[in-house]
Subunit: 208 residues, 2 copies
DNA sequence: AAAAAAATCACCCTTTTGGGGTGATTCCTT
DNA sequence: AAGGAATCACCCCAAAAGGGTGATTTTTTT
């Protein structure tokens, strides 16, 4: 017989916390080993709980969920962290994933799906709600009607990699002056006058 | 009654092409309006087909699938493109999504899932095979055992945004010399001696 | 409490880079 | 034939980058 999947819930809203705990605990094969109302509470004892999966809220009193992720990972490196939140902000999601979260579910996710996601993540899959998947895909989509020409886009990409004019010139087999010329045109088109601003503008408008 | 979802398949392998065409065509609500064995063939006539969804192979003779995406999008801006391939390379997937593909399915995807994905993408969802989702999540995960300190990582990130020492100093409310010092330490730890190399190394090792 | 690591600042030095201006040529594509 | 794209040239100067060396103060870890 398989061991139960051990789950810890960190969520400040008591109703939601108890709701999830009941929901998950009532499911065959799942076991809620502990619940906490904040990360700062959790950190004291969670090491002894050794859960397989942590359901982590983002908006917590004290240490927020995003900052909590790496600290939890440090104590429980093998543990999978599932973010459960109402927000769908691009930055938040990417930060959470970047910090070591294994998945991201919004709170409107049906309970069956949450149970399924816990199992998925435990087995090495990457659960993402359809909304998150959409967001991620959109975040990759470049602007199709860029004001920049192909060459200009290419050069802006290299600038984004921190390369100097001369490095770019070498890489593209063109003259240093040509690179300068392209950069001037880029600055004109984007209405900026520095590398940092050009990169910022380009990323905002998904030109690179 | 709802209109059928119109599908075009661009795939060079005849067996696979016909297989998919049969499979999809036999499904209620789905209609294969055309099939092509290459993008260069397709481009001539696909405008008149106005499909809702294009199943696009990556490894095509002539123009490859990745380069084909923006060109297809230009002719059929409303059309969704689903990449169907054997490869799961990170770069390929991100390029495809960046060029305007709406989803990505590997060829071992069960046929039922393909049908479902077509519908999903048509309704604005973002279909991603579980493998792709994993890949995307992994691509966001930063290296947990970075040799760099927090401050160093932070500064390296700003360098990645093309910011100069003085800009970084202002942003972090520290002295220009301190920034220099951090950068020197970063260079030492990463064993590089330029911004571009540091960024490259950092991205390779997912330090930023 | 001691040791190690991280973060802070200082001043030496030289070469490279960056950004602005202005203009010209060639090559494609429309 | 016109316009955009890509190429190259030369003017200018201030700013930035990179290397070296060393020191102080916090913070973290042992």
């Amino acid at each position: 017989m398989n061991r139960n999947i051990k789950i810890t819930i960190i969520e400040d809203d008591e109703t939601i916390r108890n709701g999830y705990a009941y929901l998950i605990g009532a499911t065959e094969g799942y076991e809620v080993v502990s619940t906490y109302c904040s990360f700062d509470e959790a950190i004291k004892k969670i090491g002894a709980d050794h859960p397989d999966v942590i359901l982590l809220d983002i908006e917590l009193p004290g240490t927020n969920g995003i900052d909590a992720i790496p600290k939890l990972k440090k104590i429980l490196p093998q543990c999978f962290i599932l973010i459960l939140t109402v927000y769908e902000s691009e930055k938040l999601i990417f930060n959470a994933l970047g910090n070591g979260a294994s998945g991201y579910l919004t709170k409107n996710t049906p309970s069956a799906k949450i149970i399924e996601s816990i199992k998925e993540v435990k087995e090495g899959g990457g659960p993402m709600s359809i909304n998150i998947a959409k967001l991620v895909i959109r975040s990759f989509q470049k602007n199709q009607e860029s004001p920049l020409s192909k060459r200009e886009t290419q050069i802006l990409e290299l600038i984004g990699e921190g390369k100097s004019r001369s490095q770019i010139a070498k890489e593209l087999f063109i003259d240093l002056e040509t690179v300068r010329s392209h950069i001037k045109n880029i600055y004109n088109k984007l209405d900026v006058n520095s590398r940092a601003d050009a990169i910022k503008m380009a990323k905002q408008n998904k030109l690179i």
